[in-house]
Amino acid sequence: MAEVVLQGVSKAYAGRPTVHAVDLTIADKEFMVLVGPSGCGKSTTLRMVAGLEDITAGRLLIDGADVTHAAPQKRDIAMVFQSYALYPHMTAFRNMAFGLLKTTDLGKAEVDRRIREAAEILHIGHLLERKPNQLSGGERQRVAIGRALVRQPKVFLFDEPLSNLDAKLRTRMRGELKRLHKELGLTVIYVTHDQIEAMTLGTRVAILSEGRLQQVGAPMELYMHPANTFVATFIGTPEMSLLRCAVRPEGNGSLLQHERFLTALPARPDAAEVFLGVRPEEILISQSAEGITRGIVERTELIGSEALAEILIGRDRVVARMPISEAPESGEEVSLTFDFGRARLFDATNGRALTSI
């Protein structure tokens, strides 16, 4: 059992707040990903959990114990850094043994056994006598993970661990991390700015922006039901298109009026101005058939299995996804239909998702 609870955890540097009262519970054996653009406070939050930064206000509980002001080594956590932070003057073995020997009173045999075991899991048995500068990026990464594994901590913290690897290796390590989490039943808090990493790795994802928690949920939940325009546009590539519309009551429902189209809604959203959010795969285009509106294709990108088209509807620009065979030419005028079963509305004044569509 290793539940991590953040209660109103805040951070201020010289009076300037950078993390605002984050409330977050990471369940036992959960893979929680903190994601957001750079400077959103995700790394600071992680470092507060690690004890590397003081917590300005709020409480941090690990496994029920209040560790808000406990020293890092008293928190029973281990961390993998972006730069791996392996001690350059120690061999891989020594790097893994160092923390164990400092923080526990395990015998040499037990330390040795744990390191061999972790090395086996990570396939780095043959690298143990090498120093970090004799290892490749991927191997260093494995040693850094090994250093965390041998500690057998309650919680594993990862601070953008894959961002220094090339694309191919990153995908492989992503799979590896997922396997480790599943096989060893680890509790993980993982920080990244890469939403693909967040979506593929996390059992749940917490999205931060400007030091505030925007939404916490399972990856697909965030994708399908974003809580606000920030989450809506942050998750998904290409990002969700937002079309500004006015809402006019009409009978039991309402009319959604865009600069270039008018459409009826069965419900009545609680806002005068809204953003209609549509994802690329929720836009259907055709050359001939009557759609809800028409637009000019600005640009078409063929990305292998499919095509992406940027289409101008009045002043708004949307991105649509389609099979290669149906890709329009740029400059062409096409008619568009939106999949209103999945499209969602956001209050234009504060960006919050509206419950009814």
Partner: protein
């Protein structure tokens, strides 16, 4: 396969050249640096050689233009004669104690100060560091008088500590080491904190091993400076029991009958040899550690 064939065919662009001329050119290409370095090395060696040669001459040969560069007969007796003028054994022990004492004390103080300036934040840090830098800008002689007064107040005049105490801190060393510490990624210190280290643990297990080249470089500078120091030991000592080697040399130079050059040079050889030996030993380490640093 094609690439292999291409490699074996001699390049038609290269002009045909006679075998000896070509090998001379290759030798020149490989050895041109030596053409520059050998004369420089000889230049550097010449005073040492001159000292050595003079120390083995008879007294009359030194200023005799007809005597030539090499001694007629090796006068090994100059050495015991020189060493009998003053208790050089005691001087040697004193020199080792003073230089060693300063080195150890400095390593402790500059390490702690440099870590503080490199990694901790506290009010007045920048002002304090500026003061440290100011200390480097003052010529050491400017502080001799106040240091002398302080040492006298301590009541340690004419003792080994008098030669050590004024030098236990080093603005230069602190600055040098602070720069080196700042090169160490902060994530390493973070990792060490998670691994259960406090400030001293981080310093000992992470920072110091990583700045070894800087420490060695500083150590060499400090040893050379204080081994050769003449002025300060002369000022604060006046009895034979606490004098150091450079002062012993001075005694020979100021003998009543004028400088006795053969004995003086014999004593000089004795004085500089430990330093030369140290240099030869550490030269390896020096190059090694810098090459190591380059790989990281």
């Amino acid at each position: 396969m094609t690439s292999l064939q291409i490699q074996t065919i001699p390049s038609p662009a290269a002009p045909p050249m006679a075998e000896p001329a070509r090998s001379a050119l290759t030798a020149l290409r490989r050895g041109w640096l030596h053409l520059l370095l050998v004369p420089l090395a000889l230049l550097w060696l010449s005073p040492l050689l001159w000292i050595l040669v003079t120390s083995l001459k008879a007294r009359t040969e030194v200023f005799d233009p007809a005597a030539g560069f090499w001694p007629l007969a090796l006068q090994w007796s100059n050495y015991p004669a020189a060493l009998s003028v003053a208790p050089f054994g005691t001087y040697l022990v004193n020199s080792v104690m003073v230089t060693g004492g300063i080195l150890i004390a400095q390593l402790v103080t500059i390490t702690l100060a440099a870590y503080t300036f490199a990694r901790l934040t506290f009010p007045g840090k920048n002002l304090l560091f500026t003061l440290f830098l100011l200390q480097i800008m003052f010529p050491i002689y400017a502080t001799f008088l106040t240091n002398f007064v302080t040492v006298r107040e301590f009541g340690i005049l004419n003792s080994l500590p008098a030669m050590i105490v004024p030098f236990v801190a080093s603005g230069y060393g602190t600055f040098m080491l602070r720069q080196a510490f700042r090169q160490v990624p902060t994530e390493l210190a973070d990792a060490a904190r998670l691994d259960g280290c406090g400030h001293f643990g981080i310093l000992w297990h992470v920072y110091l091993p990583l700045v070894k080249p800087t420490l060695i470089a500083f150590g060499i500078i400090t040893v050379v400076t204080h081994w050769n120091d003449y002025m300060w030991p002369l000022l604060v000592t006046n009895s034979e029991g606490v004098r150091t080697l450079p002062i012993g040399l001075g005694l020979l130079a100021k003998s009543d009958s004028g400088a006795d050059w053969t004995r003086l040079m014999a004593a000089t050889v004795v004085v500089v040899s430990p330093l030369l030996l140290l240099f030869v030993i550490f030269q390896r380490r020096f190059v090694d550690s810098f090459m190591h640093a380059g790989l990281k």
